[in-house]
């Protein structure tokens, strides 16, 4: 909050100076916000237009709150100052439920950042399609893999805002070094390593799947990662779009592959008990035994770096770090990820200007400097990331060989992706058979 307030005051002050000094050197904030000189120079922002006369405002509604929200505001502060477009930021932890209230209640924000493209599709009729300029910027910045989730009927509506990587395995580099273990490059290496650790006095894996009314989602991420490895992106797309049934043999195989680790009593659940203990452990606590030496590996997204206590350092040679969950062979890089998509509900030049800015490498690089954040934008320079994990994430996303797919449960209709899938996978951990669980989801998915 303090950063936000400071910038606001700086904004007010510089507007005054602006008027006094006419145009010359106004706008450049003197704050130390890690942005480069070019990023704070108003000349850089001329391409987005000049709105300093009328100073219109654009409201943005997102699921991002607290410190992360401050980092966003710090990143676009020069844009606000130089173009004159006021950005009214509103973050909510209840985004998914409240956006329905806002849009159907006639109070839609100008811009909404949807973490679930499946939910966004519901509002296609109310959304403003991307302008040709925005579309040009977006196609330049992101791969087809990413843009497909913001497009409906072949037309681009929304571009990605941020990207988080789910195909990661957290581990302890110091523990690995002590025991001479190496980061596995293939799935078989990973299983061999798990067996080696299980042969000792430690359970190799740990996990927690309790997450309130979203209990079970960490299991769905496992399944999605496995499907991407076993059957590839095309089958994955068919599954997400329900072109193949949810209980298709290929999905069964993916769930069973996840089960070879998750439901393996020899592997699970380091520091917490047996397989069934997963349902009593929150996803936030799931990987913490790595830091206390009770568990070796934990599959969780890049955002898990926020969960480590202050006493634990994150880094390639430190207490904890992450490696890419390997594919079946060393030259495959299947990536499962998530992120927000920027949708607009008001057709106005200032809204379009702000969306264009958010689609630019200028924003991506500025945002990487103001806090832990990653982007799959081709213009994002990994060197700008604030920590090695974010740097690795950006590099993996930019790998041209990588096959990216968006979190499947976020793409499916809400009653399947955020309800039946979660519930059945929770039951599956408790002992329900793969077939019974998948049959139940298939039955819930009516067309």
């Amino acid at each position: 909050m303090t950063i936000q307030k400071r910038l606001r005051l700086a904004g007010v002050a510089s507007i005054g100076t602006c008027a006094a000094l006419a145009i010359s050197a106004c706008g450049a904030p003197t704050e130390d916000n890690a942005l480069s000189e070019e990023e704070t120079d108003c000349a850089t922002y001329e391409e987005f237009g000049d709105f300093t006369e009328e100073r219109p405002s654009v409201s943005i509604y997102t699921p991002i709150t607290d410190a992360e929200a401050d980092s966003y505001e710090a990143a676009w502060a020069p844009f606000v100052e130089c173009t004159g477009i006021q950005v009214l930021y509103e973050g909510s932890n209840e985004f998914e439920a409240q956006i329905e209230v806002r849009v159907s209640g006639g109070d839609a924000p100008d811009i909404a950042a949807f973490p679930q493209p499946g939910l966004m599709a519901r509002y296609q009729d109310q959304m403003v399609p991307a302008s040709p300029e925005l579309e040009a910027r977006a196609t330049e910045g992101w791969s087809e893999d990413w843009l497909q989730y913001g497009s409906f009927d072949g037309e681009l509506y929304a571009q990605p805002l941020s990207a988080n990587l789910k195909s990661l395995v957290w581990y302890s580099p110091s523990y690995f070094a002590e025991n001479g273990y190496e980061v596995p490059a293939t799935w078989d290496d990973l299983i061999a390593l798990s067996d080696t650790i299980a042969g000792g006095d430690m359970k190799p894996w740990c996990a927690g799947i309790d997450s309130g009314d979203a209990t079970g989602w960490p299991v769905t991420d496992w399944v999605e990662d496995m499907l991407l490895r076993e059957s590839g992106g095309d089958v994955y797309d068919q599954w997400v779009n329900h072109e193949i049934p949810f209980n298709d043999p290929q999905i069964v195989a993916a769930v069973d592959k996840a089960g070879s680790i998750l439901k393996n009593e020899d592997y699970m659940n380091g520091g917490y008990g047996d397989v069934s203990s997963m349902t009593g452990v929150s996803f936030e606590e799931g990987g913490l035994p790595i830091a206390s030496g009770d568990c070796a590996m934990h599959r969780q997204a890049s955002f898990y770096s926020a969960q480590w206590p202050d006493t634990v350092t994150v880094g390639p040679d430190a207490d904890v770090f992450a490696f890419h969950l390997p594919g079946n062979s060393a030259d495959e890089t299947p990536l499962l990820g998530g992120g927000e998509y920027v949708a607009a509900f008001r057709d106005a030049p200032e809204v379009d200007a702000f969306r264009q800015y958010l689609a630019s490498p200028l924003f991506a690089n500025a945002r990487m400097k103001t806090g832990p954040w990653a982007s799959a934008h081709s213009g994002a320079d990994p060197a700008n990331a604030v920590d090695p994990l974010m740097q690795m994430t950006v590099e993996l996303f930019q790998d041209p060989e990588a096959e990216f797919r968006f979190d499947g449960s976020d793409l499916m209709p809400g009653d399947i992706g955020s309800k039946a899938f979660f519930e059945q996978m929770t039951d599956w951990i408790k002992g329900k058979s793969t077939k019974d669980a998948l049959d139940a989801i298939e039955n819930a998915w009516e067309d």
């Binding site: 405002s57 998914e96 439920a97 329905e100 917490y272 047996d274 009593g280 452990v281 809400g414 009653d415």
Partner: protein, 325 residues
Amino acid sequence: MNLTDQLSKFGVLGIGLAAFVLVVLAVLYVGNIVPHRPKSLTAGMVFLIPTLILVGIGLVVPAIRTTILSFGDRKGEGNVGFANYEWVFTDPEILSVVRNSAIWVILTPLLATAVGLVYATIIDRSPFEKLAKTLVFLPMAISFVGAAIIWKFVYDYKQIGNQIGLLNQIVVWIFGEGSAQHWLAVPFWNNLFLIVVMVWIQAGFATVVLSAAIKGVPSEITEAARLDGVNAWQMFWKVTIPSIRPAIVVVMVTMSIAALKLFDIVRTMTGGGDGTSVLAYEMYSQSFPGQQTGRGAALAVVLFILVIPIIIYQVRNLRQRKEVR
């Protein structure tokens, strides 16, 4: 967003408040100038119409809209006939939700009233009455969400290692390591663990109301009963209970309605998982996270219909008491 923007927000708020005051003053003024005959229709209408308009906008219109939505599809559009209602009464999962709501409606008023009644009788005229009443009433001051969080800690479960949950720590002390239970994930029984939270919150309300009623029992009756030689047990069942029956009915009805629309405890403690969902929670869960507007609306209508008999009973009960007087 700068200072002027902030000021303009307060400006809007100020205009709103001023408008509210003006409307109230106007209503009072008009009410004052119309003829002052008692029970005059005009005077009644002046005060009634604004209320009717507000109730219409705030209650009737949404109720009609919800009813229409309940015949629509997942986006709340079109007409799917009774498909959503058919789903409510045939889907095994939703039937278990209906069953859970029934358990809540039956058990919560019974348990809370019983606890409140016993407690009120025991503390009646004891030297610690005020303190005892304050203590049992305290949970009422906590929000449902706050109470749910407190109890979530009580029920917390760790398979191995240190227990944070009070209940499991006690169990471990008595039965030893490894006997801890994941209370909120034990099918069916977890419903009862949630109901305990509601009873904990509501028992104070029951105690206070029933205690006041017990004090209102005419001393002639109790003295007459004593002269007839009743013991404490007979006094309680044959004298106290019949005398305070109206108060018990009020408490039970209030709690039935509260139990029927219960949402917070389930949302906070289990999120409807492991078969603990209730109607009001499922209505939200289907409408918003599940994006099934039609089904959510159908559940709302069912909930509305279920409340009606309780309200009718309450109104009749009040009328009868008036007639007795």
